[in-house]
């Protein structure tokens, strides 16, 4: 589909039937409105499920790499690969789809596939939708992103007057729509043009939101050149090490393994970790390559914009802005990149 708008568009007036159809086939996760935005939660019935205008507060990685789970045992055989059933996530946004691409690179890498990730990844159905009202922290546009998806979804939903246009982007999506063809009617004639217009509007809104910040086309080069820039020390002074940025980031994937002892057996647990944590890189002998907070803040950005692209050929930031919203101390990734762009322009 690649985000193209075809002639024959399928349409629903409300999302109820679609949600019920999804829930009848799979475990379903949906957005729930809360004060700060929308949270991705398990589906418990139709009442009050909103169409989220932008990404949810919590990242999709929670459903692919749980915060903490047992991954091995001694003796062996006490934990099985996830007993997950097929599941669908409604309310994903283009930045979430990009984040999944990034997680795929790590957890489905070469001969070292993470069987837990693989199992869940094979079972997920991705129901995306166009962003309708980009939020104040959204900055996907600065990194070349769009508020509508470019493929990589099973279904995508575009809001139009009087309802929603639903597109399939994969065999899984097509087969679902085929099975539930009674749900869908023909979209109004102007729907295609309206989608394009709404997408343009969302892009324009993103442009306005981020008008103070420059387009970051050369983040890798900027960070490599600006490795010693003062901005890291400055941001280190406002960061309170709450690690919220790494928790809510849909692409941060660091974890650590620890053992839990039970009477008859031991479990190896895999739990999210954060490179902002002081002892994250410390070795048993006490050496720590990133003792200073400013070093750790810089490492996080270097990982996203330099090291990950070196290794996998794509940036590890999707511009979702969750880290900006969750930030306790006031660190804004856009400010850091902005300082580096300015230093570059001024030849500092």
């Amino acid at each position: 589909m690649s985000g193209e708008i075809g002639e024959r568009l399928l349409f629903v007036e409300t999302l109820d039937g679609l949600l019920e159809a999804l829930a009848s086939e799979r475990q379903l996760y949906v957005p729930r409105a809360v004060e700060a935005g929308h949270l991705l939660v398990p589906y418990e019935g139709l009442k009050g499920i909103p169409f989220n205008p932008i990404r949810t507060i919590n990242p999709i990685k929670e459903l692919l790499v749980p915060i903490c789970e047992p991954v091995a045992s001694m003796p062996a055989g006490m934990v099985e690969c996830p007993d997950a059933e097929p599941f669908a996530v409604f309310g994903l946004k283009p930045c979430d789809l990009k984040a999944i691409d990034i997680l795929d690179k790590v957890f489905l890498d070469r001969d070292l596939e993470d069987s837990y990730y693989l199992a869940r990844r094979a079972l997920i159905m991705l129901v995306c939708s166009d962003c309708t009202e980009p939020g104040p922290s959204c900055f996907c546009n600065l990194l070349g992103g769009k508020p509508y998806p470019d493929g990589h979804f099973d279904l995508n939903i575009s809001k139009v007057s009087g309802g929603f246009v639903v597109q399939a982007g994969s065999r899984l999506g097509k087969e679902f729509m085929e099975r539930h063809k009674d749900l869908f009617g023909q979209a109004p004639q102007q729907a295609g043009a309206e989608i394009l217009q709404r997408r343009k509007n969302a892009e324009a809104a993103l442009g306005r939101i981020n008008s103070e910040w420059p387009y970051i086309s050369r983040a890798k080069e900027l960070l490599e050149q600006g490795y010693e820039h003062q901005v890291f020390e400055d941001q280190g002074k406002v960061c309170v090490e709450c690690q919220a940025c790494t928790r809510v980031c849909p692409t941060c994937h660091c974890f650590y393994l620890y053992d839990a002892a039970y009477k008859e057996y031991f479990l190896r647990m895999k739990m999210w970790d954060s490179c902002i944590r002081r002892t994250y890189a410390q070795v048993a002998g006490g050496e720590n390559p990133r003792r200073m907070l400013s070093d750790r803040l810089r490492h996080r950005l270097m990982h996203k914009f330099v090291y990950f692209p070196d290794r996998y050929g794509l940036q590890m930031c999707v511009g979702c802005g969750r880290c900006i919203d969750a930030e306790t101390g006031g660190v804004d990734i856009r400010d850091i990149l902005d300082a580096l762009v300015k230093a570059d322009v001024n030849g500092k």
Binding site: D109, L112, F255, A281
Partner: protein
């Protein structure tokens, strides 16, 4: 069926040798053979406590049992030091790349080790000793803090001295009354005439500060960065290039290392941290 990367196999500790007050060598027999290349590492788990990465110190040709030399340096190693023969541990691996021994063939192999860094080197030496004629020479410069801290003493002052083609010198930073040998840090027994750097590779393993100064010295001697092999110590947790702990720049020490050439690492600041 994809293998579970995080599942260890069981192994039994059959022998424990005291090497120094803080270092012991554990012989473990895995429930099935674990073939490894010299320089690769394993994650050794004390069930219920945790696991930590170690490079076996034994000859890879004996994959039915592994010898693992461990310094007491943290929670897991402290408890490992209190374990007894017969105890069950977990093993994951082998992991990482290991020493590219074939690239050493026909050249001088200049090996500099310090402290518990002699552990991976012992495995390498036992591999090289299988046919020393393949190498122009094997020149070793080893150091420890004190004579008490020096490990593998019996081999160092006995059989290894007699291996044809091997030139081995040992130093300690601080001597005691019994020590008759050289006193000084390991770089003090490195000499520009030890080997011809144009025709040699260097292998360095030891504490970060020692590796830093030895690397500087090797560069002074005229070694090319691509001929200096460094065994990097990082806190490898997953061992399979995912958890992020052991990153040096774009590299994961656990999958791209633990053996790197200085050429690979030199563009990254603070690699010795």
């Amino acid at each position: 069926m994809v293998t579970n990367l995080y599942q260890p196999i069981g192994a039994k500790i059959v022998r424990i040798v005291d090497e120094s007050p803080a270092i012991k060598t554990f012989t473990v027999v895995p429930e099935r053979p674990m073939p490894f290349k010299t320089g690769q590492f394993v994650e050794l788990a004390l069930p219920g406590v945790g696991e930590a990465p170690f490079t076996p110190s034994s000859n890879p040709s004996d994959c039915g049992q592994l010898e693992i030399t461990i310094m007491r340096a943290g929670h897991v190693t402290d408890l490992l030091h209190r374990s007894v023969p017969g105890q069950t541990v977990g093993l994951r691996g082998p992991l990482g790349n290991g020493y590219p021994v074939e690239a050493f063939v026909g050249r001088h192999v200049y090996i500099i080790g310090g402290g518990v860094g002699l552990a991976p080197i012992r495995s390498l030496l036992l591999t090289l000793f299988e046919d020393t004629s393949r190498f122009r020479s094997i020149v070793c410069r080893f150091g420890a803090r004190t004579p008490d801290d020096l490990i593998y003493k019996q081999a160092l002052f006995g059989p290894w001295q007699k291996v044809p083609g091997v030139h081995l010198r040992v130093t300690v930073d601080k001597a005691d009354g019994s020590w008759k040998g050289h006193v000084g840090v390991v770089s003090s027994i490195m000499h520009p005439t030890d080997v011809d750097p144009r025709d040699a590779v260097a292998v360095v393993c030891g504490p970060p500060i020692m590796m830093k100064f030895v690397t500087v010295k090797l560069l002074d001697f005229g070694f090319r960065p691509a001929d200096i092999y460094l065994s990097m110590e990082k806190n490898m947790s997953c061992g399979v290039g995912k958890c992020g702990h052991c990153m040096i720049g774009s590299y994961y020490v656990c999958t791209d290392g633990p053996v790197f050439t200085y050429e690979q690492l030199r563009k990254y600041p603070n690699i010795w941290g």
